[in-house]
Symmetry: C2
Subunit: 363 residues, 2 copies
DNA sequence: GTTAGCACTCAGGTGTTGAGAGTGCTAACA
DNA sequence: TGTTAGCACTCTCAACACCTGAGTGCTAAC
């Protein structure tokens, strides 16, 4: 368990096995190991050490006459103690910076580009999450006329999140009612958090107090609540799921491929898993994950905007992945996003602006 | 070529072969055919007919000693002349109606539900497209303050389409400038079509005429253009891509599966294909499609809102699919969407409302 | 025109075999 | 006592042969 159980040589051998296995995907034998990594000991000695390592749980054996394969425990040790996370060369860094700068003024496209970079550079499936926050407060609510029986509901939160939705009405509306509704709802919910508003008994408040609006409210409130709910739900974007076909562990095994893709298709489940991970860079390997991901690894990191935690991005792939490279890519990308959107602030704010929300109060 | 070339018996045999092959996926032999469909002729006779049909291009032979498989031409004939598109029983219809009614007031979720229904009931990959229209005209443009260096751009079109995007500014803004910008842009572009606005030289107009706004314009106009572009681009939603794993033609063939999924992952390409199809129910089979879909079939149909063409939905799968059933499902769903959003109008409009856009003119 | 009979074809499953890569054990060596 | 060479053994994998079943095409008889 404790890496101190392992003497220098065992560690060296383990590292060599992991490195070889990660690049080739083939079980590593004693002879080929002694050839590729010249460490001045014979295959027989390596075999003895391997046997010990297996007993300690760091290696496994697909079958008697196969080479050794690192266990999840070995990957854990590797990730914690052995791996090199500074594998990004200047060209890679340049590539990341360039692509992210392309869309520096728009958070949304920056995020999309980040996902693309991530799957391209790791050759794995990447995802990006824009978590919505319960605590984010409403700023204004607005209903816009579209045609005789359709309106658009628009909700803006203080943190800049905007959500809109077309609503079909069952009874006709008047322009005045619509404006009144916008005003009343903005007045009632401005400054309140999304979750707080969702907990209120909204329909009732209209039927009781505002006779004239109750018809409109019947149509509009359910959609309003659904829209709030959608604002709370994190939005998951995925990229490069067909990358798995280039991995030998999948390309031979239809069963596994199918399982992987079905897992990805259940977005709610996956979102849940990602949302509930620890902050910062987090790596979970094989059986550290839940049952349905037990031979996959997950690496995630957070990105910030204005120093505030806003989202999470990461990759998912087989336990055999280039942890060092992948981790450095993820780190570099997330830091870069965070920095881009932080630097600006420091440089740019020369003048404080008035932000009392008055723009919308008269609409 | 002409189905008149085929006598009654040939047609009957061809139909039987197609039916068998669609359900089993196995090449159909003369003996098994004569057993399953009792048509009072011996296998030998069937063989002769099959041989004729093959010569005419309706059947093919995977190899000498295999049964016959329908060609794309046969499917074409089947779809045009033989298939039964009234295969939906009341339970299925009920299921569709119920699910679509769940979200009757919101177009967006209705569409999502439609996609789910479609892939569930056909066991294929479904997609739904919300085409944006070049001709849709802008209604208002609004910039909303978020924090000291972020604003949200919101564009509303006359047809109810709303698009928003967070923009990071490189230089600070004032509340007044923001409001002015909203007013100016709304004034300039209101009533113009998206494509017309995109063709205009927007930045120039600011640097020349509006000195005070030129800084803000520098930051904001590129994002404005990108957002317009996004409004033009159709938004493709897909569902059930892992359904292909249950199909024998894929589950044995990794190559094919990979090709299929890679094709689906290229959304731009796929969107293009779908956008450019004919109106109404359209079925394209095998080599009637482009090279990369030459052993797939595509069925699409349009749905309307207020009698106006707004979107398209469909499925994609192997040429061996239950054309009758699938077509009826697609038809029923698209009709149902269209009807839901048409019926309402007829029932509900008792009062004409004022729609001069004045709500936003003073914001 | 239809059918029975028969020779022929071919994919796919099964069994066998040999090569190759690897292990574990033992005995010798430093 | 740790290291190594040697060797028997194991297991996968690819190649090969073989068989079976399903199917065809052809021919001759009905």
């Amino acid at each position: 368990m404790n890496p101190n159980d392992l003497n220098e040589r065992k560690l060296q051998i383990l590292q060599a096995i992991i490195a070889d296995f990660i690049t080739t995907g083939e079980p590593v034998g004693s002879r080929s190991l002694s050839k590729s990594h010249d460490m001045g000991i014979s295959p027989a000695t390596i075999r003895n050490e391997m046997s010990d390592l297996e007993e300690m749980g760091y290696l496994t054996h697909p079958h008697t006459s196969a080479g050794r394969v690192p266990s999840d425990k070995a990957y854990r040790l590797y990730v914690d103690e052995l791996m090199d996370t500074s594998q990004l060369d200047e060209a890679d860094k340049q590539k990341i910076r360039t692509k992210l700068l392309e869309s520096r003024n728009e958070l949304d496209s920056t995020i999309e580009h980040a996902a693309e970079l991530l799957s391209d550079m790791t050759n794995l499936t990447s995802f990006v999450l824009m978590p919505r926050k319960d605590e984010s407060k409403l700023k204004y609510i607005n209903f816009l006329p579209v045609d005789s029986n359709t309106v658009v509901l628009m909700i803006v939160a203080e943190d800049g999140q905007v959500m809109n939705r077309a609503i079909r009405l069952t009874s006709p509306y008047t322009e005045e009612n619509l404006q009144l509704m916008s005003k009343v709802m903005t007045h009632n919910y401005m400054g309140k958090s999304i979750s707080a508003v969702m907990a209120m008994d909204i329909i009732d408040s209209f039927t009781n107090d505002m006779e004239s609006l109750s018809n409109l409210a019947q149509d509009v409130v359910p959609s309003f609540l659904k829209t709030l709910e959608k604002m709370l739900n994190a939005d998951l974007v995925m990229n490069g799921y067909s990358n798995i076909f280039s991995l030998p562990e999948f390309s031979g095994d239809m069963q596994k491929t199918q399982q992987f893709l079905r897992m990805l298709e259940d977005k709610n489940r996956l979102t849940d898993v990602i949302v509930n991970r620890d902050k910062g860079v987090m790596i979970t390997i094989g059986d550290e994950n839940s049952e349905d991901m037990k031979d996959l690894s997950l690496i995630t990191a957070d990105y910030r905007v204005n120093g505030e935690l806003v989202g999470r991005l990461g990759v998912i792939g087989p336990t055999r992945m280039k942890y060092g490279k992948v981790t450095s890519v993820i780190k570099y990308i997330s830091d870069n996003i965070s920095q881009t959107f932080e630097l600006k602030e420091k440089n740019d704010v020369k003048e404080e602006h008035n932000d009392d929300g008055s723009t919308e109060a008269d609409s």
